[in-house]
């Protein structure tokens, strides 16, 4: 029981500190904290599909950007919707796109899905760059709203909700067991009567929708977006690194990885500004984590989880004969 108690106390302490933070620090640090919460939430959003269902999404920025663009377009001069009314619209649009992309490609091997999502994000960059209504490469502005506390609490709320949903759905419900079952051995999961295509699609839509909410808040926060700032591949790169660093498929790993990498990002930014060197660091981080820390930071704390995965993998390998399977 002891570890459970310390974990719960730690969680309460973190929530209390986060809730009081706007009273403790100035706007500069509050902005950084807002960004850290956003990235922790985005990492969790990526992890919903990548970690729990085992499908790598290399175009997750597409959904972040869709949320941002829907909010920006609806809040523009012509329509002038209130911010909170744009959130449901962004969620619906994102969910539709996720279904259109996910339905055909999630049936296939993970590699095709990775290609399709990556291509989708690039299509959106191209599309938003050549179209008039999105403002082209120049992008679009939103009505400015300069209340750092509002955005801090918006990100805090969105991140808390994302983690709560993830915890409830994937750690405490039958749905989570289904998702993990199909990740670990899809034919076996199907034989148990799980509709794997449907479960995968539901997971993908959830993952996409959470990212779009962060995109919407982000757009309103920075008051100006362009195709590269919200669809750019670097956004996906960061999410992938954060989750791998924190621990794929663990609940708290993405939060740890997200905050750790965001702090590194800000330190580099403070000293060197926007630098291409950061892209190289991201790449090196992915390579190093894959090679030396495949279970991430979270894996360091729970050796048990890492080992059971390996045992399972071996058993599955034996079952399937040639564990790799052909390109068939």
């Amino acid at each position: 029981m002891k570890p459970r108690w310390t974990g719960l106390l730690l969680l309460i302490a973190v929530i209390v500190v986060l809730a009081l933070l706007p009273m403790l620090v100035n706007n500069f640090w509050l902005r950084i904290a807002t960004g850290a919460l956003m990235w922790a939430g985005l990492a969790c959003s990526w992890n919903i599909l990548g970690g729990y269902a085992g499908y790598i999404n290399f175009g997750h920025s597409a959904f972040f950007g869709l949320g941002a663009y829907v909010t920006a377009l609806l809040m523009g001069d012509k329509l002038a919707w209130p911010f909170f009314a744009t959130l449901p619209a962004g969620i619906v649009v994102t969910a539709l796109f996720a279904i259109i992309i996910g339905a055909p490609t999630l049936r296939l091997r993970g590699a095709y899905f990775a290609i399709a999502t990556w291509a989708f994000a690039e299509v959106l960059i191209q599309f938003a760059s050549v179209m008039d209504f999105t403002g082209g490469i120049g992008g679009i502005g939103l009505p400015p709203f300069l209340d750092e506390r509002f955005f801090y609490f918006a990100m805090f709320g969105a991140a808390a909700l994302t983690y709560l949903i993830t915890w409830a759905l994937f750690e405490r419900s039958r749905f989570g067991l289904k998702v993990k079952a199909l990740r670990d051995h899809e034919p076996a999961a199907e034989a148990m009567g799980i509709n794997t295509s449907l479960v995968k699609l539901q997971t993908f839509v959830l993952s996409a929708v959470t990212a779009s909410v962060f995109g919407a808040i982000f757009a309103y926060w920075v008051t100006f977006i362009n195709p590269n700032s919200v669809f750019g591949g670097d956004i996906t790169d960061q999410m992938v690194v954060m989750v791998l660093l924190g621990g794929l498929g663990s609940l708290w790993g993405p939060a740890l990885g997200g905050v750790a990498l965001f702090v590194v990002n800000r330190i580099i930014w403070m000293y060197w500004g926007d630098t291409a060197f950061y892209i190289a660091i991201l790449g090196a981080a992915i390579v190093l984590v894959v090679l030396f820390l495949p279970n991430g930071i979270a894996g360091l704390f729970s050796r048990r989880g890492a080992k059971s995965g390996a045992v399972l993998d071996k058993a599955v390998g034996n079952l399937a004969g040639d564990g790799q399977g052909g390109p068939s």
Partner: protein, 294 residues
Amino acid sequence: MVPALDLFLQTLLNGLLIGGVIGTFTIGFQLAFGVLHVIDFAVGGWVVLGGYLGYYMAAGLGVDGFLAIPVAFVLFGAIGYLIGPILYNVRNSRTARPELMALALTFGLFTLLRGGMLTAWGFNTHSVPTALSGESLAVGPVTVPLIRVAAAVFAIAIAGGLFLFLYRTRYGLAIRATAENRQNAALMGVNIRRLSANVYGLYAGITAMAGVLMGAIFSVNPEVGLRYTLFAFFVAVLAGLGSVGGALVAALLLGVIEAFVATYVGSSYSLLAIFATLFLVLLVSPRGILRHGL
């Protein structure tokens, strides 16, 4: 009507010539997938590195860009030979999801290459100068830049050599056997680990050579790598992952699509058209429309 027909022929020829060069590295990409079961995101990175090698050899040493081709093969072949076993180890490791990890590794490698090149060489665009740059050949009403013809001839030679190697030598047989069934190949005495290293080296070398040619035809900067990775994916999806024969056909098709969109619609739409086709194929026939075995 006649000028319209000329333009049509010109576009078709341009597309086919470029498609041939794309074909060289997509064949290697498919081969690497067949043997290693790894989708290599880094493919565009090797193309760009080849282009930069050509540029720096021409600018720094004052030699012709074509001389960079064999150097690119040896240099990047050696680098690929060293990276191959790492990929193999990750792909066959006992972590929970090796396929995902290998994919993430090549993605990380690609990001590292892109970031490193941007840091070292900046965003500027360079072109590889060669003896044939600026020359062109008139065939009837159609004029073709000589460099494109030379590149296509070279591509055909490489592709032909690769097919001969795959289908007429014992080692090629071992590669095809491994791609078809790794376990049976291993039982027949193929050293899969060493073969993986060799295949990845061969592929990286060929890709870098194609990169020199691409650098001479178009130009090179660190951001175009993404475009070539996309090309390789497009071909892989169209031909079916791992299909070597279909790769060449799909690459030619890609070159033609790109040329026609660039000529008749506008070059800013060419990527959009490629993505749209890629998506359509994934929706209609996700396992490729040119599917052949290896």
